[in-house]
Symmetry: C2
Subunit: 348 residues, 2 copies
Amino acid sequence: MKQQASRSILPLDASATKFDVVGIGNAIVDIIATCDDEFLKQHDLPKGHMQLINTEQAEALYQAMGPGIESSGGSAANTMAGLASLGGRAAFIGKVADDQLGEVFRHDLTAAGVSYETAPTAGASGKPTARCLILVTPDGERTMNTYLGASVELGNGEVSQETIAAAGITYLEGYLFDPPEAKAAFFEAARMAADAGRKVALSLSDGFCVDRHRAAFRSLIKGGVDILFANEEEICSLYETTDFDEACRQVSNECRLAALTRGAKGSVIVFEGEMIPVAAEPVSKVVDTTGAGDLYAAGFLYGLTRQLDLETSARLGGLAAAEIISHMGARPAVSLAKLVEDSGLLAA
Amino acid sequence: MKQQASRSILPLDASATKFDVVGIGNAIVDIIATCDDEFLKQHDLPKGHMQLINTEQAEALYQAMGPGIESSGGSAANTMAGLASLGGRAAFIGKVADDQLGEVFRHDLTAAGVSYETAPTAGASGKPTARCLILVTPDGERTMNTYLGASVELGNGEVSQETIAAAGITYLEGYLFDPPEAKAAFFEAARMAADAGRKVALSLSDGFCVDRHRAAFRSLIKGGVDILFANEEEICSLYETTDFDEACRQVSNECRLAALTRGAKGSVIVFEGEMIPVAAEPVSKVVDTTGAGDLYAAGFLYGLTRQLDLETSARLGGLAAAEIISHMGARPAVSLAKLVEDSGLLAA
């Protein structure tokens, strides 16, 4: 195993925690269908992005789209499922309704080995479990349309000091900034983690999401984020620049450790002002990019919590991302631990 | 287009009908997960077969199985989705509940281009939409565990003379013999089709299903089935023999046209005592055999309704089956019409 030369990057004492990471995010079931680019234009869907839709929009879009498959999703939940598949100790906090899709979400997450204790909302009266209508174009790019449903009911009450303190890292998805209640829970979780001497990781989630919450994100990053995840577009949006290198420079002034993904160009790790470029894992055919960033985060976090060096951690992220984009859906189709073993990446 | 030399095999006048085929079957959403052979043994699941399970068994098995994906299924419904994807005019009759999985089933079938008018059962009080817990082993074989739920509510009332008369062929899945109400509807549909001068096709569905209903199937085949679909195991079970050639001889005495599938060995068409062997379509990797028979039937029926010769019809069946076993789920992931076009199978 490639261990850190210096163990000081993120001092994480696994023996002191029950979980390596607890993820907090919107609890979503994905409904995935293929379409052509023309369909996206016709329905005014922002290609490659996530947009929020209301009940009426969700019904109309579902009506219009082709036959789908359903697969549990949600950004942070995908990351936790990936972490568990790698052999990490993962927990998740997020809200489903007491309905069939909620049951599917709960089953898939717990069957993946993730601890998931958040109670569902009361069924009949409230909103149904959140769903994301995902349209995949022939180039493998996904365009996401999220009906938040019951996931907006996640509030402070759901985030316990006990669970946060039980995990070495609290991982927050930026999408949580959209529902106001969840945003409050988000800040509460970050505070609890800091109080307990734990680390806070944040994923910026989506360029549009950064647009909506830029100031709040920047304040949080400066104030209390230990590990930042973003793709090229998100980090550029955060610093309102079109120059990736400039964005890297800016983030290095505000955050000790950032993992920035660039699709086929791999990723760049920014650590204490140093930039470490890491190549992407080759993929023979990109089927569906849904979950690529989520699974990269899973691999990187797994590496960090195993005290591996930054480059190896980033390569684990690339390996997990490569698996997820080779098939439909954002949850691993094979054991990632086995994939890592077969890759020889962690061989002495 | 390869047209029949003689048009007498099944005189079908497309201009006289609204649909080429109406399929009647259990309306089921598949929940598909991978497992190893050991899991099947531990849970006493009959590999490669379909077994019926009750509510408690369904809950226990779902609890035990790994993360899944959901995909609309049901044997006859899969065949109708395949027929529509090939460009055929398809309708379906089957019963879902007024719940989320029922909504998914309805969406996927209608979005595939299949006419589906059967009303759902009343929601809150009754049984939920049927689901099939499908375990796929590393060899691609699927083992199916069906909770029939709301699909048992399909009764005579749902099968209208109007819909049956509107289709050239009424296609019935053998699984319908399991719920007593559906079995009655099944016979009613066969009678209506005969009365209207339409054709009746039957799929034997599963070897165990044939065991449960052998006498009734044989009586129906002799009495009023124009086209019989079965795989090797099913036809052997029907005639209680281990010799496929013997089963072919027996079926040729009782049914004018039978399409018998043999997996990688292709299929044998039995027509008026003659046996026509047809090679299978090559498949680079078998991922999940769910729906192979259903899609073979779709291709074969498409050929028949287009007045194509028997061998071409069987090859269309093989092409559709090859597509479905190359991915998870029993509904086409690509346009089968496009696949047929690219294959050059129908080129002059």
